[in-house]
């Protein structure tokens, strides 16, 4: 068993998938680690992978003139980082900065897409998991937009 497969079989993100499906997905992944302060990717860079965070904290930041780098959201163990590899123009929208030492599984974007194209059943399983996480992410951002803690006068 590869190291990646070991990590994936019991991971909640893949709960419900067959051992064979997980094995196929694991082949597209490698374990990566980053030190606090490092940059995983930068806005505008080529998006060709996504990362399932196993440990650590990563901040999605956007540099705005006059405001410096603003943290939009932080991601932690269990979160999936990176969507831009799915669709053209395959460019990152934010900077991903490592806040504390981070370990993750990096899935190769083109390889993962290839897996899904070849096996649509597996592709659908993956897409269900991606969309769930995306919906949660979007809902969080919506609540953030409501600014519920502001003082109304």
């Amino acid at each position: 068993m590869s190291e990646v497969l070991d990590l994936l079989v019991d991971h909640p993100f893949f709960a419900g998938m067959t051992d064979e499906q997980i094995r196929v997905v694991a082949e597209t992944g490698t374990v990566v680690s980053f030190k606090g302060g490092e940059t995983i990717f930068s806005e505008g860079g080529t998006a060709n992978a996504c990362l399932l965070i196993l440990d650590g904290d990563v901040a999605l930041e956007l540099d705005t003139p006059g405001h410096g780098e603003q943290v939009m959201q932080t991601l932690h163990a269990g979160d999936l980082l990176g969507w831009s590899w799915l669709y053209p123009p395959y460019r990152w929208s934010y900077d991903a900065h490592v806040h504390s030492d981070t370990e993750a599984i990096r899935f190769d974007g083109p390889a993962l897409k290839q897996v899904a194209e070849v096996d649509p059943v597996l592709g659908y399983e993956l897409m269900k998991r991606f969309t769930e996480m995306l919906v949660n992410r979007m809902q969080s951002i919506r609540i953030q937009l409501l600014d519920v803690y502001s003082t109304p006068r």
Binding site: A59, Q139, D147
Partner: protein, 282 residues
């Protein structure tokens, strides 16, 4: 009606008791914690209860008690200035006198959580009414399994009780997770809404109990998030906010469905808060 009941003492539930201000601590730009001499010397309250605080001539508002339930010698209340009465109440100095009625309302059911994991999930000023519950739980820590505080604020500068949060964080038996909606240049902690912390807490969804207090939208999403994890409604508790004028179940303002929030609430189990209660504009 006959006259035989005339001899009964006449109740005065709308009379505030003058209480002296001992200290005023500015927590945030618009939020202050008042420590008062309790009405009539020592007094007791249960975590989650509130008082009606009166600024002489200006008016009266419901304010949750944020002090230690094990210390009957002081009445501690944390107030955010959002209108004329709270402006007046937060402009007091030590030695001034404010009026107090109460305590009123229901309490966080700390005993229900005994033997189980306890999740305390709060946003903004919502930490104040949960602070007494936290202090009670920490004072009786051995009665609970995992205890986790999930606290969301607008920004790092708007976190309440920061010294105490530090102290709590340093404990090994209390998981304190803090997130802010908007970070700043120095904030290195999580950025995102408080619901994103749920996935990071360790608890058994089958038995865990959650106390939730914050803006109503935040509570609704938190309830959804916990239900999604398998926590049932009867183990979810919220503290509701409604307009209150009397605190004694008479003025009618605070009704949600069948409940007077001042009397049956403010703490409700989500099992009693039926769909009728959550209906829009109810």
């Amino acid at each position: 009606m006959s006259t035989q009941l005339l001899a009964e003492p006449i109740a005065r539930p709308m009379h505030p008791v003058p209480c002296r201000v001992r200290s005023v601590v500015r927590e945030l730009e618009d939020t202050f914690t008042l420590e008062l001499d309790p009405p009539g010397g020592d007094w007791g309250f249960a975590p989650g209860q509130f008082t009606m605080l009166y600024a002489f001539g200006v008016g009266e508002v419901p304010i949750s008690i944020s002090g230690d339930p094990n210390d009957p010698s002081r009445l501690v209340q944390t107030i955010r200035a959002v209108g004329p009465v709270t402006d007046a109440l937060t402009s007091v100095s030590p030695g001034d006198v404010v009026g107090v009625r109460g305590p009123f309302g229901s309490a966080w059911p700390t005993e229900v959580a005994e033997g189980h994991d306890l999740l305390i999930i709060t946003g903004g000023i919502g930490l104040a009414p949960l602070r007494p519950a936290i202090l009670h739980v920490l004072a009786n820590r051995d009665r609970y399994s995992n205890v986790t505080l999930m606290y969301g604020a607008r920004s790092p500068g708007e976190l309440l009780f920061t010294d105490e949060l530090q102290e709590w964080r340093s404990r090994f038996d209390f998981e304190v997770l803090i997130t802010v909606d908007h970070g700043d240049r120095v904030w290195r902690g999580p950025v995102g809404v408080v619901t994103t912390l749920i996935g990071r807490a360790s608890f058994d969804p089958q038995t865990a109990v959650a106390f939730i207090c914050g803006p109503e939208i935040m509570m609704r999403f938190t309830i959804q998030g916990l239900q999604g994890k398998g926590v049932t409604s009867d183990r979810l508790y919220t503290s509701m906010e409604r307009n209150m004028k009397c605190g004694i179940g008479l003025c009618g303002h605070c009704q949600i469905g069948p409940f007077f929030v001042c009397r049956e609430g403010p703490v409700f189990s989500c099992a009693e808060m039926t769909d009728v209660c959550w209906t829009k504009e109810m």
